[in-house]
Amino acid sequence: MNYPEEILPGIEYKQINCDLSGHFLLRFVETSDPSKLIDPVTEKLSVNAICSPREHIQDLSMNLLGIFKADYMHLAFHKSVYGKFMEYCDPDTIVDVPIFEKEFYHQPNRAGWYIDINQLHNKLFSYQKGNQDLTAICRIIHSPMRWNYWHFSIRWTTDQNLEDMDLKQRNNVAQKIGFAARVQFASLARMQPPDCPILEKACYCKN
């Protein structure tokens, strides 16, 4: 099995900052068990399949669908090479092509969910914490990794001054945002890969 080299960062690539309207993000989960993926009540993606509550959704890993195909969700790395591949990097970093079995393998027990970027990027989430009304804004940010140039992150900005909070308070705010976001994602997510355009080269190539 060969690694799809088209998803690796490369000298010709740049940071993606263009309009991603009409594009979808894919996130995979480490189960293909429908009973863990589907909420029996809503018959949609389970909120707990979005990510674990402990992850707090502060920096949620996603992949831009297009050149990154849905099948690539099954690419998995051995823990021994996490330091080599599972790290953020510049988009034009030159990396080694991962070697099958020695460094990566096929993990069949994964499932993916898909979400329209338009439904998330710069969207405002409001929530109440005790008696306070708070807001958080969702941002989709290109965050290439050594194993995948098409890696994106969902991050949040809030109207709270997080810098002035201690870690416990910060986590508490993140927990509230995370819960609201996971619920919203679960209601918006699709379980089947959508038809999705390929990003224009000008968006990701230097020349």
């Binding site: 909420d39 029996p40 009540v41 809503t42 389970s46 909120v47 707990n48 674990s52 509550p53 402990r54 989430f125 409001s126 929530y127 109440q128 914490k129 005790g130 416990k168 986590n171 508490n172 927990q175 509230k176 819960f179 609201a180 619920v183 919203q184 209601s187 918006l188």
Partner: protein, 192 residues
């Protein structure tokens, strides 16, 4: 206000949209009357049939015995999941966890959900509930992070549109739910 009942198994009629917050009660002949935020709900103890609505509209029809059935199902599911994951919360007393589950389960079953599920997640009990067109998600956090009280997170949606998100103590969260759903019984989560 109420029209005169036309059938013996029908107790009261209210116009659609009328909100009645009275507690349900049992009639001397065994009928149990409950109320919903949309229209009168009547259930005949003998026939087990819900009364028809003579003035149009749809019923929100809580069967008072459903709450009990649903509670038993939730508790079974809780115990099964706890058994499958004995390290769900390290060092926690299963009896205490079960009592905490009873508090939150009873509190939301008071809303007579059409459907409800329970899932143990990391240090939390996660409920999904559908009542009419409202979907309620409640995460009962079993390990307090702030002031020693059990915390809860709720998110309420109508037809996939987010209406309300809240995080605070469990009793406060239950109070907020009342702004969107009318309880059919009296939820008392004060001891959480």
């Amino acid at each position: 206000m109420p029209a005169t009942p036309a059938r013996p198994d029908v107790i009261l009629y209210y116009p659609i949209g009328y909100v009645d917050k009275r507690e349900p009660y049992r009639e001397s002949d065994g009928r149990i009357e409950t109320y919903s935020n949309s229209i009168t709900v009547c259930w005949d103890h003998n026939s087990g049939i819900y009364s028809e609505n003579p003035i149009g509209g749809t019923y929100a029809t809580p069967n008072p015995f459903n709450a009990n059935r649903q509670f038993i199902a939730l508790e079974k599911s809780f115990l099964k999941q706890l058994e499958q994951d004995p390290d769900f919360i390290q060092g926690a007393n299963p009896y205490v966890l079960r009592e905490k589950m009873k508090l939150s389960a009873n509190a939301i079953l008071a809303y007579a959900p059409d459907k409800i599920s329970l899932q143990l997640t990391e240090e939390s009990i996660f409920y999904t509930l559908i009542k009419d067109d409202i979907t309620l998600y409640l995460q009962h956090c079993l390990v307090d992070e702030l002031d020693g009280r059990d915390e809860a997170l709720i998110s309420i949606q109508r037809n996939n549109i987010n209406l309300f998100n809240y995080g605070g103590s469990l009793p406060e969260a239950i109070v907020h739910i009342k702004n969107f759903l009318i309880p059919q019984y009296n939820p008392v989560p004060e001891f959480a």
